[in-house]
Symmetry: D2
């Protein structure tokens, strides 16, 4: 175990800037993804684990001036109260975090814990939308000032909200947090399918800040983005693409609400429709199976037609740990959007579509999205 600064600096090499610290503010800061991201950032910084799963730690990102992992300072909002160290223990028992990690990064978890503020609206909360936005923005500003941060990126990793009803009186919570980010002049990332910046009243409001979203692509949709282009490239006709997801963590429970599932599925369908040029038959199910904990299983069944009407089938089974898939991408996004802010970029960043199910724009195939991401890296490098 090598924890000294020099070794860490040597390892992250020329990829990172040397000055200033960057805040990462999680909406849902006590959840599995945020806890894994905080613990994982500390573990990689300490040299306990290689940065597997972090695209920004691969050679194409050398010299792009991203904030270094040790320079990230974590905080966030949450309506829960469980201390991060306790959450990390639960995640260890659940097999998400490796044994021995939580004690090794206790100090970093504790530091982040002290920067978590109570979110909202709470049950019985009498504050109106504007008041909530103002309170959240004040938390952000205070975090930045108190820690002398160059900037703070707000990253939504909270549970998926139900789709907002058309005639809702107030903004959905994810949009309140997004509005607070804008008010506090913070770049924004929405890693969930919740509304966030896409509330009609926020249209255009984020033009002056870099932002990215929506809905991180960590399993079934990642696979679909890799596979669907194959059918198109080979001129094979996809007739039906069906899928079932089993998962048991907080996300499983949240998605058991039909409204939340609808939000999630909208993103899942998009990659097929855009890549194939039509929407094939088939449904997507998301089942809450508490016995599986944070481990997610996704089964996909693709019925396609080949030469002379021959009927063929591809099936895939993906068994992954949701938080371990999401956390490195969340760190990637925080670094990329922070650097974009530093480089003076603003508005949506469609080059980050590689990370999302429902991106703002850009190609739908994974390889094309990856090529866009590499171009973005070049752009950041040139902005040095």
């Amino acid at each position: 175990m090598n924890n000294d600064g020099n070794a860490s600096q040597a390892r992250t090499g020329g990829r990172t800037a040397r000055t200033g610290r960057t805040g990462v503010w999680f909406v849902g800061a006590r959840g599995s993804v945020a806890t894994t991201a905080v613990a994982g950032c500390a573990a990689v910084t300490a040299g306990l684990y290689p940065p597997t799963g972090m695209v920004t730690e691969t050679p194409p990102f050398d010299g792009t001036g991203l904030p270094s992992l040790p320079s990230l300072v974590f905080g966030g909002h949450d309506t829960a109260h469980t201390p991060l160290a306790k959450r990390a223990e639960h995640l260890t028992e659940a097999g998400v975090l490796p044994h021995g990690l939580a004690p090794a990064v206790r100090a970093e978890l504790q530091a982040a814990d002290e920067e978590i503020r109570l979110g909202g609206p709470l049950a019985g909360d009498t504050r109106g939308d504007d008041e909530l936005i103002a309170d959240f923005a004040a938390d952000l500003t205070s975090f930045r000032v108190r820690n002398a941060l160059a900037r703070v990126v707000v990253v939504n990793v909270s549970s998926t909200e139900p789709l907002p009803e058309p005639d809702a009186v107030r903004l959905p919570p994810s949009s309140l947090y997004a509005a607070a980010a804008l008010r506090a002049d913070c770049p924004y990332v929405n890693f969930t399918p919740s509304t966030g910046l896409r509330a009609p009243v926020l249209t255009g409001a984020a033009d002056g800040l870099p932002h990215a979203g929506r809905d991180g692509k960590t399993g079934q949709t990642l696979l679909r983005a890799a596979l669907a282009p194959m059918f198109v490239q080979r001129a094979l006709e996809v007739r039906a693409w069906s899928g079932t997801n089993l998962l048991g963590g907080g996300d499983g429970a949240a998605l058991a609400h039909p409204g939340a599932a609808a939000a999630k599925n909208a993103g899942k369908e998009r990659v097929l429709t855009e890549t194939l040029g039509h929407t094939p038959e088939g449904e997507v199910h998301i089942d809450d199976v508490p016995a599986l904990g944070d481990w997610k299983t996704a089964w996909d069944h693709v019925a396609f037609e080949g030469f002379l009407g021959s009927r063929m089938i591809l099936q895939t089974i993906w068994q992954g740990c949701d938080s371990a898939l999401a956390a490195p991408l969340v760190l990637d996004l925080a670094r990329l959007v922070a650097r974009a802010h530093e480089a003076g970029l603003s508005g949506p960043l469609p080059e980050l579509g590689f990370y999302f199910k429902d991106p703002d724009a850009g190609p739908s195939g994974l390889s094309e999205q990856f090529a866009e991401l590499l171009s973005f890296a070049d752009r950041l490098r040139e902005a040095q």
Copy 2:
């Protein structure tokens, strides 16, 4: 059923040249792939089926001057004697060709049948390598002259040969046919893992002709070429990639010979090693299961590691009809290589790596290979 020339011309649109006829000479002309290609070309020409699975019939190939499907004239070598019409009946019973197709294209099958010549070396054949090459080349020249063909593309679709022994006295049959193609000035495509042009004595001999190979990518390796880049792009660490193929057609029986399986597996492994940058653990099995006939099942199991050492698994199951997957690609290749010849291109065509497990050069990821193919289409269009 619409078989008149105008309709057909309308359908194949601007993709094809209008003048001259092109010969397609199959080594293994009585096999499943060749029979399906001949029957399928006729069926698509007649408007009985859409050209599903033929990449050269998609919009990016408009205006590239490829020989039209109706302009293709088929012949070939084989050591078997079953008439093509009979083979087509067998393939119908086996579920490879749709019912009703074989009778509808009987005339075209009969025409191709009359252009099939006896291959070799036969059991007890006393001809030496040179004599065989000369005989095969004479068959090719006679085919071209007799049918007044602009050119003849030789395409190897015969059963996989065992790996040649290092001290073998004579050339493997696939190389005899390849040498005959060169001698008769014919472009050459090797759709199998057999040696073909890659015999040391043939090195450089094909520099004056366009050629492409080796080993068509129709199932498990196609999938691997689509999926392996995903792991690299996401910085996930592939630990082991294991696979089993079940198939029962002639190919299954041929590959039950350990030597032939070794030839096949070499190609399968290459995509992983080149894409991942290392060779993961895991084996590939090819089992002869006659009960499955021409239907191939490939199971793949990928053990990979994510953030903080988390262990995850992807499994894929591909159930396809081997001949229906191969035949449209074989037609694609014959057209592309014929057009390359017309355009004056020569030597290996690495832009066709999209079609092969073991290409002459070029990228290993499917999307990158597809991009190369599209560039090749542009090059052909400009050569008009």
Copy 3:
């Protein structure tokens, strides 16, 4: 093709009685299952195919006095009008019936077709429940008399009904047909999850006739009945059992109605609850995927716990043709229930639980159910 009576008698051996003919009356007589049963009975009788899938044609049923296949006479109710010969052509194109079969058994399909009567209630039907029951019963009696049948077994193979609403004014159609069977003194089999005899008003009414049901076990539930006992026998703890069914035939469309799916799923869950002694986590989905036609795919995911809390997983994928699975069971049941009637048995026949998802009584494990079936065969043999 050998269709003479002697050969057929030799083949079906000592399993069958020699005298009298037995009527089989299908509710849903123009559906896939009924069409396949009629065509298949003729094909097996003619020696065109072996009786694969018919349990009653295996040695344990020798000498049990079952009506022979050639002695079965088919008729039925349906609200559709497509002739059986036409339906058989459709099933051939869909890959359910083998090519060549429909023409070979055209006479038998035609004979059955002439015995199909219009079912109900039709749209705008003004007949009350009693009138409908009387009309249906008259059809049954007329069928028996006109064909001089020893008896007529009514078998419900129509599309799954939605679950009846608690305050429904009239009986569901399946119960109208069941009541008609009772009124016409006909034994009754319900191969669907519809209500049939289980309407409260019919309780006890069938005590004088043998009957069996409910909901034929042809795929996922068959597999569950074979596998669930393994976990119990090995003292392994099933935590979650999840499943998804994809199918596209008429059944797929019918089950897309949530009410019908609820009816179907109730039966599916029962085998787990009864075998495991508790209801594990997990849901069952039934998706209508028209591209799959009559071919059904069922994926099951079982999360179980072993020694020292180890977490393990079993997954199964079943790809079968629904009608080909159901038809031989339907013929089995018609023969068994007819013979039970001849032998003077009456009331529910729990020994037939082997065939059903939701049987009247008896064990839930498949092997135990099979043992019960063999005892029933002995009982029939002794009743000779």
Copy 4:
């Protein structure tokens, strides 16, 4: 955590005898299975975990007089030297043993460790077969006397040996240990596919002692024994049954030797041949994939034929922890065979076929084997 004797006695209830202690002597005592069995027995005794996976702890075994778990005393032979406590740590890191268990049962592991003696023949061992047998038997007798044990059951859980060559000069090691068990008057269990008692020279020698074997059924073959009867019961025709096993523990490495794999596969095939009445097409592969550690994945593909020649497919994927599956069965067998010895039974115990791939006799279907096991429990109960 409750470790007092009363609680433990209450929990194991009436299933166990109260007096005398029983020795369990593992051949391969430092391997994964033995380590898991020793640690697990202690953990269940201490109330740390329920006895999941131990069939002998279920109600049907109440009152059968089996030795209680706390009364078992462990020892064994091994040629390796790693202390059990160290092995338990490795198994914890590998995810086989739960975190926290190894330290909690350190005393019991240490006690077993002190009873492990050096096995053989070692490299360069000059002892002949008789001398080795005598040495091993002396170790057994010493263990029994020193610990004042009522009896000692020898259980082979060592790595699979290559199939012995027909003209081998000496006995395979597994047979040396088996002969030693006989000489020391110890009942014997062979949980591996190695020769053990089945060496021709040992035929009949074990008639005076109860013994059971061969080759524990923990994964793919367990599943086959549960599923193959379903096809027979339903009169479905299995055409091909193919399988691939991936595993990376010591067993994976041992089975990478073709000889050992051949030994293992012989057992796997037997269940199909005996149940189906014929040997279907298809092969079984066992691949060493070190990345998977002790976690085993078995994929099976069953091609079967139904009514009217319809082609259907069942696939299964089993993902389990080999040692966690084997250890409770090994404890079961030690207890059952010890009790059989106490009850005066001798010779092969075919009623234990439930546990084995290649049993001495008895039915091949899992449910029939389970019924035999329950009868055996009754027999033991009556022998009280």
